[in-house]
Symmetry: C2
Subunit: 332 residues, 2 copies
């Protein structure tokens, strides 16, 4: 078993554990989510079925829909509103992936050709826009305004996060606070929305579960940024230090700069090859910065657990804690 | 006065005439729309204020918000719901323009640098996504589900239209029906949504006014496609036959192919330079195809007027007819 297979199998095991903890109906709800995603792709003509169909069915771990389910209550209770909410959050996530691949000119995602690689920029842009629109159309079918308000807010923040990342590109003096705000916007808010939409469907504590979700998302992004430095490429599917090559300054580099004075002269624009990036990754690792970043992520996960409302059932609490632990285990 | 100034001044006159016909409150509502668009740009941080701010404030004719207003009733009656609807439709329009410029690598729009030219692809993609999200957030504030359902539907169709256009690229055998369906998706549905949202705000005939709007949009697109062939570049801001160079087959070419057998051997991919495109435009014009396309557009405008519900007031009818005539005059 390769490292990549091991990592992916650990993630699958974690999702599996949460699904079991969510109760027998969780599988049913998640199956309805899959069916709905498949139906959406085929409702919109041959071109979309081809492109969005692949994007949607390539699937990934469906972590956000699962989070919607268990935020609604454990054992998970099937409802149309819950399925719609889970589908809508995953559609927004899929839309951002398709658009991200346009920016990164990525060829592969989840082992399949990206929409931009298969169809070009126009197809990828329109496919992302369509997935995005469908998310809101899906929620509008339910007739409830609050989930739409929450998801529109989150979708806007995702875009703001992208803009912030670009504004901070190549700037090695970016602060920890600004980096963490970027993690919140880029990743935290959609995890938050997943929990909020679940809480709305389950008539739970929207704010409390939302804060839990946001912190889980931030930890997820933090650990992803650590993984970019550690690699190995066989696991991440990209060269070590891909973020650095891209001008994206993340916590490992920020912490390394605070620990190794010799890094102060670093001009990130001069790091141009995979080999140069690997050398910089080694220097970052040597400062102990990765351990600091990992510990920060663990602290955020602990905060997340602390945000869980007192009002939730013991079963829901332990299932949401499983989700939190799964985020960490994925990277252990 | 240049040709371009004359065209733009004719459009401005037409918008002005509709604004006057809409009654004194129209100016007030449109001013509130402008204020809200400006406020939205500055609510979302410095990067967005810079990029979206320019996109939003560069403005254009605001034809869709005006259509929302007069579809709501004449004289136009000010309401928060009306302003929100007008802003939301224009935000979706602005989002598609920003994304279209990424595809076309356009440098200028309305005489100003495009978002993609000023900020690059990432900024343009994220700016479009953000404008898109804000449209739904804007409507969600109103608490009504129907406008959201209608706008999400329209936004999805816009993306489908783009996908269809790409699927048909370079195919000179595309049918009139398929071309017209593309016009409907790319342009008609957002004009339809403008009228539908206006009708919802004004408690009018949503379906009837929607059908009017859709046909006006189709005619608008048809005449735009004629203008691509006639030019002149000083008026359109792009070389004659830019669509042909892009592989986009429109009604003028479809009608020319049906009239000039010598065009049957045409391979659009061999039309690569502005000069070659101009030669093809002349051949299209020589077949009489432009007149056929223009007449088709006039027929669609007449159909639009025929769709106006019997229930509307005489003042609203004549104002909406002014809008319909304005679409034609813009191109006369």
């Amino acid at each position: 078993m390769s490292v990549s297979q091991a990592a992916s199998s650990a993630a699958a095991e974690s999702v599996q554990a949460v699904t079991v903890a969510g109760g027998a109906e969780t599988t049913l709800v998640m199956r309805r989510v899959e069916e709905r995603m498949g139906a959406l792709a085929s409702e919109h003509g041959a071109t979309l079925a081809r492109h969005a169909g692949e994007t949607i069915s390539a699937g990934g771990k469906r972590l956000r829909p699962l989070l919607v389910c268990v935020a609604a209550g454990v054992p998970v209770v099937q409802s149309d509103a819950l399925v719609r909410a889970a589908v809508a959050v995953e559609l927004v996530h899929a839309a951002t992936l398709v658009h991200d691949d346009v920016i990164d000119r990525a060829d592969l995602r989840r082992g399949r050709p990206t929409v931009v690689a298969a169809g070009g920029r126009l197809i990828a842009l329109a496919t992302g826009d369509l997935l995005f629109s469908r998310a809101f159309a899906e929620l509008a079918q339910g007739g409830e305004i609050e989930p739409i308000r929450l998801l529109a807010q989150a979708a806007g923040s995702l875009a703001e996060g992208e803009l912030m990342q670009r504004a901070d590109s190549w700037d090695v003096n970016v602060s920890r606070e600004r980096y963490l705000e970027r993690c919140r916007l880029k990743t935290g808010v959609l995890f938050r929305a997943a929990c909020e939409l679940g809480a709305v469907a389950g008539a739970g504590d929207v704010d409390g579960l939302g804060r839990f979700g946001e912190r889980i998302g931030i930890a997820f992004q933090l650990l992803d940024d650590v993984l970019d430095v550690t690699g190995p490429p066989e696991r991440t599917g990209k060269p070590r230090g891909a973020d650095l090559l891209d001008g994206t300054v993340t916590l490992p580099l920020i912490e390394a700069l605070a620990r190794d004075a010799s890094l102060a002269q670093l001009d990130l624009r001069e790091v141009r090859t995979a080999d140069q990036a690997a050398v910089l990754c080694d220097r970052i690792e040597a400062t102990g910065a990765l351990q600091v970043a990992r510990e920060h992520a663990l602290g955020v996960v602990a905060e997340a657990k602390g945000e869980l409302p007192a009002s939730i059932s013991a079963a829901q609490r332990s299932t949401l804690e499983l989700v939190a632990d799964g985020v960490v285990e994925r990277y252990s």
